[in-house]
């Protein structure tokens, strides 16, 4: 068992988990409060500007999840669960894949030009013009990727961060996390 908990403060002197320690650090609180909105905004920029510059669904998803995780590490898991409820996050993992696969299936049925039907993930038929169809398809597909990556990373973080409270009752009950 570790003497010092790197993720959230554990007082190694008496071995008791001190959930307030991270939350008492004023500089961390203020700086993270100031930066989290910009991290999330930047993630959205990366998501929707990915067609024109570097970026895309993967990067945006990871940055969005990282912003939320920063919030969770500083302000506690309970606060993060209020922002992103685990149920919504679990739903999001599947939703992203569904959007991706749904675009594929829709393009399967929409032909363009002479073809009566298209191919799976062939975006040409999604709009009146093949180029616009490609734009729309790429945007939707990247959105699906972004949602799945954000939700999967958050869900994995919840699993790891929630583990300690389940398996280590000697560190105090989860209710004590409430400030």
């Amino acid at each position: 068992m570790s003497g010092l908990d790197p993720l959230a403060g554990v007082d190694s002197a008496n071995g008791r988990r001190d959930p307030m320690r991270m939350q008492e650090k004023l500089v961390l609180r203020i700086v993270s409060k100031a930066t989290v909105p910009f991290i999330l905004l930047f993630a959205l920029y990366v998501q929707f500007h990915g067609d024109f510059g570097p970026g895309g669904g993967f990067q945006a998803g990871v940055i969005f999840a990282a912003g939320l995780i920063l919030y969770g590490v500083i302000f506690g898991l309970d606060m993060l669960e209020r922002v992103a409820p685990p149920r919504v996050v679990e739903f999001g993992i599947a939703l992203g894949i569904l959007i991706y696969g749904g675009v594929g299936v829709v393009s399967l049925f929409l032909g363009h030009g002479d073809a009566p039907a298209g191919n799976f993930l062939d975006y040409n038929g999604l709009a009146h013009d093949p180029v616009h169809g490609q734009h729309l398809g790429i945007l939707l597909v990247e959105l699906g990727v972004g949602i799945t990556v954000t939700a999967a990373m958050l869900a994995i973080f919840y699993m790891f961060a929630g583990r300690r409270m389940v398996e280590r009752p000697e560190f105090g009950a989860p209710e004590e996390d409430q400030p």
Binding site: F52, V62, F120, I138, A155, I156, F160, E170
Partner: protein
């Protein structure tokens, strides 16, 4: 500054960054304090992101910086908080070292007849698909970022499968670490 000088200057920066990367990797492999090693893997990712930028792979650099310095580090720290923070002392073993020297030697021997680094004549750049990706993106997809176009349109199947891998990994972590964290779980938490 001429174009040639500029290229050799960039090659110099590339070399320095790569040596820094290898040095970081050696330190990560040797350190017994796992907490410090995790922090160094974050630095390792950032240096490699710099290298990717120099190799014109801006999207890869972006992803590596976000993933390596952000998510991976957090997950490793989470694991360390649940396991040991220090690595146990262990005797030096010769066999792994020999294996590594042999494999590395064989791989280096394999690179000897590879095309030179950065050569335009390399088969990968002469393949018709290279031109298709560049001009096709310009004409059929009309997006400036070729990587996004290839990722989502040309190789849409690939990306779909790969998103499914992320999904499967999340499900796997769910299965391994057990369902949702609930307040009731602490009642049957028992002894750790």
């Amino acid at each position: 500054m001429s174009a040639k000088q500029q290229t050799s200057g960039l090659a110099m920066i590339e070399l320095i960054l790569f040596v820094l990367l290898v040095a970081t990797a050696v330190v990560v492999a040797r350190l017994r304090d796992l907490f410090a090693a995790v922090m160094l893997t974050g630095i390792f990712s950032l240096v490699s992101a710099g290298l990717f930028t120099l190799m014109d792979a801006v999207d890869v650099a972006f992803t590596e910086a976000a993933v390596g310095a952000g998510i991976s580090t957090i997950l490793m720290l989470g694991t360390l908080s649940l396991t040991a923070r220090r690595e146990e002392q262990q005797p030096v073993r010769l066999l792994p070292f020999l294996v590594v020297i042999l494999v590395g030697g064989a791989l280096i021997a394999g690179t000897v007849d590879m095309p030179a680094y950065g050569a335009l004549e390399a088969p990968i750049h002469q393949h018709p698909m290279y031109n298709e990706f560049i001009t096709g993106t310009e004409q059929k997809v009309h997006l400036p970022n070729v990587v996004t176009a290839v990722l989502a349109s040309y190789r849409g199947y690939d990306t779909f499968g790969e998103t499914t891998v992320v999904f499967a990994a999340a499900i796997g972590v769910f299965l391994v670490l057990g369902g949702r964290r609930k307040k009731s779980a602490k009642i049957d938490g028992g002894t750790p």
